[in-house]
Point group: C2
Chain length 338, copies 2
Amino acid sequence: MAGIKDVASHAGVSVATVSRVLNGHPTVRPATRALVLSAVAELGYRPNAVARSLRTHQTRTLGLVISDVLNPFFTELARAVEDAARSRGYSVVIGNADERPDLQDHYVRTLLEHRIDGLLVSPTDGGSAPMLESARASVPMVFVDRWIAGIDVPVVHADGHGAVRDLVAHLHALGHRRLAVIAGPETTTTGNERVAAFRAALAAHGLPLPDAYIGKGDFQTESGRRATAAFLELPEPPEAVFATDNLMALGAMDELRARGLRVPDDMALAAFDDIPWFLHTDPPITAIAQPTTELGHRAVHALTDLVEGRDAGSVTLSARLIARRSCGEDERNEGNRR
Amino acid sequence: MAGIKDVASHAGVSVATVSRVLNGHPTVRPATRALVLSAVAELGYRPNAVARSLRTHQTRTLGLVISDVLNPFFTELARAVEDAARSRGYSVVIGNADERPDLQDHYVRTLLEHRIDGLLVSPTDGGSAPMLESARASVPMVFVDRWIAGIDVPVVHADGHGAVRDLVAHLHALGHRRLAVIAGPETTTTGNERVAAFRAALAAHGLPLPDAYIGKGDFQTESGRRATAAFLELPEPPEAVFATDNLMALGAMDELRARGLRVPDDMALAAFDDIPWFLHTDPPITAIAQPTTELGHRAVHALTDLVEGRDAGSVTLSARLIARRSCGEDERNEGNRR
DNA sequence: CTGAAAGCGCTTACAG
DNA sequence: CTGAAAGCGCTTACAG
């Protein structure tokens, strides 16, 4: 592969000049610029970003560590992040933690070694060594969706309290009184907050949330299935289940289907995070939708602001309930998505 | 951030020695090694991968350019690629082409500038300049799922002919005679091959495939919706539609639902690529499943073989039909996934 | 407007 | 077993 020296000698100028035209430096004579450009084209020269980064101390690359690529919510988030980053001139490299703290740590470490300009993370746990380290190393960082208490960086997320309250009201109106939840890991903010919001909303209706009605999940499909099985084996199973992410809702449906049970007749079901398929499931699933694309955009804006030396603060958006038929018939509230 | 010099002076050795212990060079005295290691720990030193890459001419990074992250098939593929790469000591950076040739080119260019060791691509078009360039630049490359005729690199893909034949037999047995297909872009191999396989299978049953029954899609949701709308406005709409990817099947369902039509009564539906949600849609969708994870693993194996100077050849796996209820009731074939 | 030179943070022959 | 030095491919003051 041709290097800058080849271009320089081919064009009969110094490497400094080649560098200048490549970087759009204003003080280059048009004739010289043309000479260089044609040499570049002729040799098919592609600048070496590695060398440039070593020299400039910036990579124009953002790291994104997400909890699970297989989760459509994160995939949509990643897509939004990618778009926003590209439009600001950054590349993004994604690390998929697969909800495993060890993998998450592997990626933040790797990303840091690659000297990314900033780090966007949706943490899988409550705060590991490499995460603290990166905060200490003062690499610009922003949390998105989930965060870690005690690490003081901007957080871009959606507050689900209002939507969860709406969901509980919806369930209550439909006559459901025994309400259960499938929780995420206690080490994650979203894992805790969604359950807390649910509990608070139940309390407002004078409803309890017994421990047996809190399924321990990990935001992945299998755990939704296991939690649902456990609910069904209770002497008094819940009438409605709120899965705190879409993958656990999928697991719940898997289990229900395997037992020949029907939603909502045998058990009502609702999920946090809306996805296109929820419109077509049997029945369509009532879900809480986050402004995913906007979350991604805002997170990138905050991060690039930090990277480029500007201030950035946290942003809190809100989620909303999209009632469909999985909690019972109530066509007045029937909603669509998009 | 501490550099290798800091570590060296802190440990009272030369930078060469620090480098040696970091790289597991055998001829380092244990005592020296211990000294260095404790300095590394104390300073929280993280080697600069950028500098290392510049020096060694390798990044231990693979580039993966996929057609669409929002498509669960590619997301699953990316996940498999990532896992296989990590287990072989490589990172992977993903570029999402979003089915746009210009974006695809942007990513192969960027990846090449970043001097990735090898490139894995599922091309969105029939062969653009940067793609040819990268082949010419002799960066190790392998195609996965889709490929470009005329670029001589290994191809790792699944042959769907047998499964499509099974699908057509299934549709035929259910009494469907007017069969249509929603195609992908003609510039992609999968776009063409799936239609060709479908046409051939129809011919074997003495069935035609009129032009009006070939919907022009682009593998994304909206195009599936448009193609379905067009089918429905035909004087004689098809009885069954085969969407050549899962997103276009989603679009078809969107359109059918908007018109208050039912699958399979008003129109039977089948899709290429199986996804977990197909089990829970109304009705469950008959699909052709690719061995996605294995495709990803094999592709990485082929690519790392190339990168490390070994030979690598193409590999062809096969896909299989998973009959569910979206083409009509035929419980004998009822199948599950996973 | 352009060139010569230093230097980014590492690795690796080459000596010793 | 370890150090001094060159060099990877760029960018950027510093001169002129």
